[in-house]
Amino acid sequence: MPGMANVDTSLRATIQHQRRLERRRWRIVGGIGFVAFFTLVLDIATGPSMLAPGAVVNALLNIGDVDEMTRVIVMEMRLPMALMALVVGAALGVGGAEIQTLLNNPMASPYTLGLAAAAGFGASLVIALGTFGLPLLFAVPLGAFIMTMLASGVLFAVASLPRMTSAMLVLTGIALLFLFQSLLSLVQYLSAPEVSQQILFWLFGNLTKTNWLSLSITAAVTVVCISLLMRLSWQLTALRLGEQRAAALGVDPQRLRLVVLFLVALMTSVAISFVGVIGFIGLVAPHVARMLVGEDQRFFVPLSMVTGAAFLSASSVLSKSIIPGALFPVGIVTAFIGVPFFFWIIISRR
């Protein structure tokens, strides 16, 4: 058949173009992954105790002559904190990406659904009412987690109603957000000033309470949830064409919504229960990822993950270096660098 060879070469060329595009996207993911690694190193190297870099490296690798104090600071505080920044950043980045996909709304994040407000209320209840004999370090995250799961339960119930649209789910989330915020204010209003102070301090996201146990739990949950979400990549990409089209392509939108909502709620709840409210990452990371690789979830999810991780890790470094020797709550810093960055994104996308 004449022209067949011609047809074939143009087809080949387009496939090669596609392969180049895929490689380029993986390079972007790798590049930002490297930035995350770089900030991790900086994060371990900096801190209020101003250790010499050499001593830090020696303590990490367990070589040479390291005094006990340095070893404890590096291994029991800085390393878990720095790793926690990566893990929580990753969880919030992916959580934001999937909530935006699910709700078909670029302004959404896990916080839009009231999850952070629920966590704050849960934590404040425990701080105000006491721990029932449990150590405070575990009782507060537990309280926060139980309350976020309760909020998620309401969301699931609403999401599984027949003929439920994503717009109605957003409204439910906003209602929950206001409910839990007012409950939180009520607890703060009723409790003593010192307790109120303590609650306020928990609300600023903070990595300082991290230990190896909380890190392992958060990391395990995050890894499992992100792996499961990655298996749904193409279904979630199809959902971007609208629920009706997704259904026409063989997706069960209702089921997909419940599964993804569950995974995201679990992952972000665990993260915020341990570190408190860290805003903006769930909003900014997916935006950056979308600009760089589009919404093919095979690339969108990993890039949201590494961007979130790099962002929180960099914020952690900044929180320690704004005033040397002092340590700001990282949740304040993320909003500080997040907001101008976000403005820039909005304005550059006009």
Binding site: T14, Q18, L21, W234, L241, G250, D252, D296
Partner: protein, 279 residues
């Protein structure tokens, strides 16, 4: 080759009944155009066949299979359904959108064979060069062609198109329907499409189904069904039937208020002059 049969279908949308005891038969290799005024349940009929909305009564059969709530996924395997509208707000390339048609075959790595299949379809309808363009940057017509490729990639036996050309210009209307025609013949598809343009239906459909008042008003070849008396009554406008050079019927609504509107314009004009003279 099996036919698609609707038996005694009754469809309710809210409180209104959009189909009452409708029975229709669709044969492979033919294009069926569903026509009728707004709100007569054309889209609902497609959605019912696809299983998106439940019928109050009646059955849909295709070969051995019967539409049932419990085996919806298996039923839909044979169906390529293009819902109304072509607005997409996703940041995806055209190729990615087309690939989604083959959802079950997609993994972290998409093999050359799947890409080739998708690109071959895109080449057939002439949009291969747009493969790596952002889907949102395409014109409405190009986007609709991409969505048509997506539907074909599913290798359906039944094609349900809901107003596929309503938002397109003449060129893209013709080009899309020409592709629908070719693929229907080549693949022996059962193609059911909702159309608003009666003349376009006359040009491309093998058979037309005229819906109105929850029932089938007429069914048959465009020539037989598109009768001015029937259409005037159904659409509530006077209609005249012309014929093009190949003898195909062309349906044109007749302006009722033509003379009245001229009078109105003259009246306006004189009023305007009066008010100016008053100033």
């Amino acid at each position: 080759m099996s036919s698609l049969d609707i038996l005694n279908a009754t469809i309710l949308r809210g409180a209104t009944c959009t189909a009452q005891g409708i029975s229709l038969r669709f044969e492979p290799g033919h294009i069926y155009a569903i026509l009728g005024p707004n709100g007569t349940g054309k889209s609902s009929l497609l959605k019912a066949i696809f299983g998106e909305i439940e019928m109050q009564a009646g059955e849909v059969h295709y070969g051995e299979r019967q539409l049932s709530r419990r085996q919806l996924k298996a039923w839909r395997e044979n169906i390529g359904y293009m819902p109304q509208g072509n607005e997409l707000d996703a940041c995806l390339t055209t190729l990615e959108v087309v690939l989604l048609g083959h959802l079950d075959a997609l993994h972290m790595h998409v093999g050359d064979d799947v890409l080739e299949q998708a690109l071959m379809l895109m080449q057939r309808v002439g949009i291969q060069h747009l493969a790596h363009r952002d889907i949102q940057s395409l014109s409405g017509g190009q986007r609709q062609l991409a969505l048509f490729c997506q539907v074909l990639l599913r290798e359906p036996k039944i094609l349900l198109l809901d107003e596929p050309v309503s938002a397109l210009d003449m060129h893209h209307q013709l080009s899309l329907l020409e592709h629908v025609y070719t693929e229907t013949r080549q693949r022996q598809l059962i193609t059911i499409t909702v159309l608003h343009d009666l003349s376009l239906a006359a040009q491309f459909a093998d058979r037309v189904i005229l819906l109105g008042e929850a029932s089938v008003k007429a069914e048959g070849t465009p020539h037989d069904v598109l009768q001015p008396a029937l259409l005037s009554e159904l659409y509530q406008v006077p209609v005249e039937r012309l014929h093009d050079s190949s003898g195909m019927p062309v349906i044109r609504p007749v302006r009722q208020t033509h003379s009245a509107s001229i009078e109105y314009a003259q009246l306006k004009h004189s009023q305007l002059n009066n008010s100016q003279s008053l100033c």
